[in-house]
C-alpha cells in the first residue's frame, strides 16, 4: 500500500491520510532518526562506537513502529532498530550502550517497555508472543510490536512465533523491514515466495504489504494492525518494502554484492524527502518549523556526542552480579578472586 508517492503527492485517499499534526510529528521523528544515524556513523569512524548498523533509508518503518504504540505497549527491536527505540522515547545514549561495548543492554526494558535489542535473528519473536499472551491472560490490552528483517523470516523462530501468535490470537504486530539484503544475501536467495507477506497465509495471519518509505502509509497500516490486536483479533504481519542505503555495518563492504546504480535507484525514494515534500506542499511545514526541528535534532546529536565522549568503565564486579538473582557460591568465589587480582594491580 502507498498513500504518498516519491514526489510527495497523495496517490490514494482510501484509507484517508493521517492528520497533518500526526504527519508533522512523524516527520520530526524522521529528522531525529536520520540525525541519530549520521551521528552514530560519525562516532564509529572516530572509534568511539564499536559498531553501528545504520537504518538510513528505513527510518519511516522505525518511526512508525514506535509512533503507533501506547505507553503500555511493548516494542521488540533488533540490532538495527536504534532509531525505533529512540523514537519510543529511550535516551539514545542508553541505546548505544550495547553498541559501545559497555553492557549488553543499556536501558530498563520493563520501565521503557522496550525489550533488549536482539542480536540473534528472530529469537525475539516468540518472546513478543509470550509478552502478548501473558497480557491477555492478565486481562490487559497491551499490544506488542515485533520487528525483524527479511533475512530473519527464514529462521525457524519467525515461523514458530507467527504460528503461535495465530493459534493463541496473540496481540502481536510483526513488522518485517524488507530492506532487500541480509548482509550480502539478496531477497531472492532468502525466499522464493512471491512476497514475505505471503507467508502469513499459511498461518492464518492477515498480512499487508506497504511501501516502507511512505510514513503515512506505514502509520495507517500499523495503526490498524495495533487496533486489531487490541480488539483481541490477533496478530498481523506487515511487510514494509524498503531499502538499506548504507552498509550492513561499518565492517561490511557492500560493493561486493550490489551495484552503486541499484542504490542510486533508491535514493530518490528517501522517506524523509518524500514526507518533507508533502508537508511543504500542503503548507504544514514552514521554514521556521523546519529550522526548529533541525536545531532540536542538532541538540540531540550534541547530547549523544557528549555522552559518548565520556570515559565509561563498567565495574568489573558487575560481571558476577546479575547472572542469578543471588550469586551462587561458585560465583562469589570467582568475584573474590577477581577483586583480589584487581587489588594487587592497584597496589
Amino acid at each position: 500500500m502507498r498513500l504518498i508517492d516519491e514526489t510527495g503527492a497523495v496517490v490514494a485517499d482510501d484509507p484517508p491520510l493521517p492528520a497533518p499534526e500526526v504527519l508533522l510529528e512523524g516527520y520530526r521523528g524522521l529528522v531525529f532518526a536520520r540525525r541519530l544515524n549520521d551521528q552514530a556513523g560519525a562516532l564509529v569512524r572516530q572509534g568511539r562506537l564499536a559498531v553501528y548498523p545504520s537504518s538510513h533509508g528505513q527510518e519511516a518503518c522505525q518511526v512508525a513502529a514506535a509512533a503507533v504504540l501506547a505507553e503500555t505497549d511493548w516494542l521488540f527491536p533488533t540490532y538495527r532498530d536504534v532509531a525505533a527505540i529512540a523514537a519510543r522515547g529511550v535516551d539514545p545514549l542508553d541505546v548505544l550502550v550495547m553498541l559501545g561495548g559497555d553492557w549488553h543492554c543499556g536501558y530498563d526494558p520493563v520501565a521503557t517497555r522496550v525489550a533488549p535489542q536482539a542480536t540473534p535473528l528472530a529469537t525475539q519473536l516468540p518472546h513478543a508472543v509470550g509478552v502478548g499472551h501473558a497480557a491477555r491472560l492478565k486481562g490487559e490490552d497491551t499490544v506488542v510490536m515485533a520487528l525483524c528483517g527479511d533475512g530473519a523470516t527464514s529462521e525457524g523462530d519467525f515461523h514458530e512465533a507467527l504460528n503461535f501468535a495465530a493459534v493463541f490470537a496473540s496481540p502481536v504486530v510483526f513488522l518485517v523491514q524488507n530492506n532487500k539484503y541480509a548482509i550480502s544475501v539478496p531477497l531472492a536467495r532468502q525466499s522464493a515466495a512471491e512476497s514475505l507477506a505471503a507467508k502469513g497465509v499459511g498461518y492464518g495471519v492477515p498480512a499487508v504489504r506497504v511501501d516502507g518509505n511512505d510514513l503515512a502509509a506505514l502509520i495507517v497500516v500499523l495503526t490498524e494492525a495495533v487496533a486489531r490486536a487490541r480488539r483481541g483479533e490477533g496478530p498481523t504481519l506487515v511487510e514494509a518494502d524498503t531499502y538499506r542505503i548504507q552498509a550492513h555495518t561499518n565492517a561490511d563492504d557492500p560493493s561486493r554484492y550490489r551495484t552503486e546504480a541499484e542504490v542510486d535507484e533508491w535514493r530518490p525514494r528517501d522517506p524523509l524527502l518524500r514526507m518533507r515534500a508533502h508537508l511543504v506542499a500542503t503548507g504544514v511545514l514552514t521554514p521556521e518549523r523546519e529550522a526548529e526541528l533541525a536545531a532540536a535534532a542538532e541538540e540531540m546529536a550534541a547530547h549523544v556526542r557528549a555522552g559518548m565522549g565520556r570515559e565509561s568503565a563498567p565495574d568489573p564486579a558487575e560481571l558476577f552480579a546479575h547472572v542469578y538473582s543471588t550469586p551462587t557460591p561458585q560465583l562469589r568465589e570467582q568475584a573474590a578472586l577477581l577483586a583480589a587480582e584487581l587489588n594487587e594491580v592497584q597496589a
Binding site: C105, K138, G156
Partner: protein
C-alpha cells in the same frame, strides 16, 4: 515420582495464579507421562494448555510470559527434543537477567524428562545435563526421590531464576510416600548413606544405582557413603567436600558420557579441594562416549553396580 511431580504442579498452581503450564500434549492428555494429568480440568485451559509442536516457540513464549509477570512451567517431551529450543535456552533464558543488569528476571521452569534405562528408542534417553550446567545463568536441578521431586519442583517454580528441571525418567514409576517435610532449598546436596571407606557421588537416575552399589559393597566389607547432589547448579561443594574428606576416596557416578561432563567437573573440584585428604585419584564411572545406544545395548552403557564396585576396588587400597 509422577504423582509427586503432578502434586507439586497442582499445589503450585493453586498457591499462585501466575503459574501456568504448557507444552506438547500437557493439556487434556496430561502429558505423555501424565505429569500434568488433571491440571487443565482443575485450573482451566488458560492455566494448562497445549501448544503447537515447536520447542523453540514453547521456550521462547515462556520467556516473554516470564518477562510479563507470569511463572511459566514448560514441558519438553523428551530430553533430545529440547534441542530445537537450545538456542532459546542458552541465548535468552540463561542470559536475559544478566543482559538487563537484573531488571528482567525470568522465573520459569523447563521440565525435561531425561536419561535412559527405559528401553527407549533413539532421542528418548539422552542425558543433557552438561549442556545446561555449562551455561551460566541456568539453575540445574535433578531429584532422585519422590519427596525431592515434589519439594524441588515447588522450589524451582518459586525461584526468581530460570531452572532446568531434569526428571529422571527411570524413576518416574517408583512409588514411595512423600515426606511432608520442608521444601529443600535449591543448591543443597544430601548424604543419603553414611560410610567410612569411600564416597560415591551421584545425582538423579544414578542415585539408586549408587545406593545399590553401596549395599553390595557392604556385603563385601566396603563401607560406602553416598551423596545425592540434587542440584548440579549451584554446586554444593561444602557437602561434597566434607563427605570426601571423611572417607579419603571418591567415585563419581553418572550415566552421561564422561568426556567433558558434569562428572568430570565434580572429579576436578573434589581433587582441588580434597587433595591432601585423598588416598587415590578420584574415579569417574559414567556412560561411554557414544551416542545413546539402542535398547538392547543400553545395559552395557549405563554404569551398574559392578562397574561402580570395580572402580571402588581401584582406589589404591593397601592390602591388609
Amino acid at each position: 515420582m509422577i504423582q509427586a511431580l503432578n502434586r507439586a504442579l497442582h499445589d503450585a498452581m493453586a498457591a499462585d495464579d501466575s503459574v501456568v503450564v504448557f507444552g506438547e500434549d500437557v493439556g487434556p492428555l496430561g502429558g505423555v507421562f501424565r505429569v500434568t494429568d488433571g491440571l487443565t480440568a482443575a485450573f482451566g485451559e488458560q492455566r494448562c494448555f497445549d501448544t503447537p509442536l515447536a520447542e523453540s516457540g514453547i521456550v521462547g513464549m515462556a520467556v516473554g510470559m516470564a518477562m510479563n509477570g507470569m511463572r511459566p512451567v514448560v514441558e519438553m517431551q523428551f530430553d533430545a527434543f529440547a534441542y530445537p529450543a537450545f538456542e532459546q535456552i542458552v541465548s535468552h533464558v540463561a542470559k536475559l537477567g544478566n543482559r538487563t543488569r537484573g531488571r528482567v528476571r525470568l522465573p520459569m521452569v523447563i521440565r525435561v524428562p531425561y536419561g535412559g534405562g527405559i528401553g527407549g528408542v533413539e532421542h528418548h534417553c539422552d542425558s543433557s545435563e552438561a549442556y545446561y550446567a555449562h551455561t551460566p545463568g541456568l539453575l540445574v536441578v535433578t531429584p532422585a526421590t519422590n519427596t525431592d521431586a515434589y519439594g524441588l519442583l515447588r522450589a524451582a517454580i518459586e525461584h526468581p531464576d530460570p531452572v532446568v528441571f531434569l526428571e529422571p525418567k527411570r524413576q518416574y514409576f517408583t512409588r514411595e510416600e512423600l515426606d511432608a517435610g520442608p521444601v529443600p532449598p535449591i543448591g543443597r546436596s544430601v548424604v543419603r548413606r553414611e560410610g567410612r571407606d569411600a564416597t560415591l557421588i551421584a545425582y538423579g537416575p544414578s542415585v539408586p544405582v549408587a545406593l545399590a552399589a553401596a549395599e553390595h559393597g557392604a556385603a563385601e566389607g566396603r563401607d560406602l557413603a553416598v551423596v545425592d547432589l540434587r542440584s548440579i547448579v549451584p554446586f554444593d561443594d561444602e557437602t561434597v567436600t566434607a563427605a570426601v574428606r571423611r572417607t579419603g576416596r571418591a567415585v563419581v557416578v553418572a550415566e552421561a558420557p564422561g568426556f567433558a561432563s558434569v562428572a568430570s567437573e565434580i572429579a576436578a573440584r573434589v581433587s582441588e579441594r580434597c587433595f591432601h585428604y585423598l588416598e587415590a585419584p578420584v574415579r569417574r564411572v559414567t556412560g561411554f562416549d557414544v551416542p545413546y545406544p539402542p535398547p538392547k545395548l543400553e545395559q552395557h552403557h549405563l554404569p551398574g553396580v559392578d562397574r561402580i564396585l570395580d572402580a571402588v576396588d581401584d582406589l589404591q587400597w593397601e592390602e591388609a
